[in-house]
């Protein structure tokens, strides 16, 4: 560790990662977004636990849950959770491909990054639109 009394005095240097120093190439942006969505999804597991507890506790506990996710803030949280999940899912597959040694060339990694961002928006918007349609009249009208 750095606080070994035997070592000579060390000049204070900034510690990595330097989020505010460099330009953000697409690979860096997707890497940071992967971590941010991972943390968001961890917090989102509270909503999953709440949903299961509400379901297990009967209709009088389930109604406040559906009311909470149906109000504007709830919808924003719900879409944020959905997009985070789809992004982390797609970018996670990209990471697993890298772990297997595929797609490391810079142009390939840049293209797969753009593809992941575009697909994550399209898929999450599509699923959300389907859910909205199913709730607001589509299936029950």
């Amino acid at each position: 560790m750095a606080d070994n009394p035997q070592s000579p005095p060390v000049r204070e240097r900034p510690l990595s990662p330097h989020l505010s120093v460099y330009k953000w190439p697409i690979t860096m942006a997707t890497s940071i977004t992967h971590r941010a969505t991972g943390i968001a999804l961890s917090l989102g597991m509270i909503v999953v636990a709440w949903a299961l507890i509400a379901l297990a506790s009967g209709p009088e506990m389930y109604q406040p849950f559906t009311a909470a996710i149906a109000n504007p803030i709830g919808l924003i949280v719900l879409f944020g959770f959905l997009w985070s999940l789809v992004f982390h899912f797609l970018n996670g597959i990209r990471h697993l491909a890298w772990d297997l040694g595929y797609g490391f060339a810079v142009p390939t990694a840049n293209r797969s990054g753009v593809l992941v961002i575009a697909l994550s928006v399209l898929i999450s918007a599509g699923l959300f639109a389907y859910g909205w349609w199913a709730v607001h009249g589509g299936l029950r009208a």
Binding site: Y62, T66, L82, F89
Partner: protein, 125 residues
């Protein structure tokens, strides 16, 4: 002359006391979550607009209850490992780091435990 014990040397882990177990478990849980999270997202989308009884009935089905239980367990392991890496990378003060690592573990066990107890009450009892 080495001060290492023969056991320590043959384990080959050095002063870190652990090997690639963390890295591997993160990848294995990631691979398992591809089908599990895909199943959950599609299922929840298809449950949108359904009544409480229909949603409860879906998760009471044995296969769905099993998949949901697996999703909760594998997600909790994956998120605990992933958030630990973020804390290790970004929190340089060792006291704060240890506190956050403990909170990460506590959060995982509480959220996972609540989810599994609720799922068992819903699907089994």
């Amino acid at each position: 002359m080495s001060l290492e014990t023969p056991l320590h040397r043959v384990q080959g882990l050095g002063s870190a006391h652990s090997g690639v177990g963390h890295f591997w478990r993160e990848r294995v849980t990631a691979a398992a979550l591809i089908p599990l999270s895909g199943w959950l997202v599609v299922s929840v989308a298809l449950l949108a607009g359904k009544t409480e009884a229909e949603v409860a009935g879906f998760f009471q089905h044995p296969w769905n209850a099993l998949l949901m239980g697996l999703f909760v367990i594998v997600s909790c392991v994956h998120m605990m490992l992933g958030v630990q890496v973020v804390i290790d990378d970004y929190v340089h003060h060792s006291g704060q780091r240890i506190l956050l690592l403990l909170l990460n573990r506590a959060f995982t066990w509480i959220v996972g435990g609540l989810s599994l107890v609720a799922l068992l009450r819903l699907a089994v009892v």
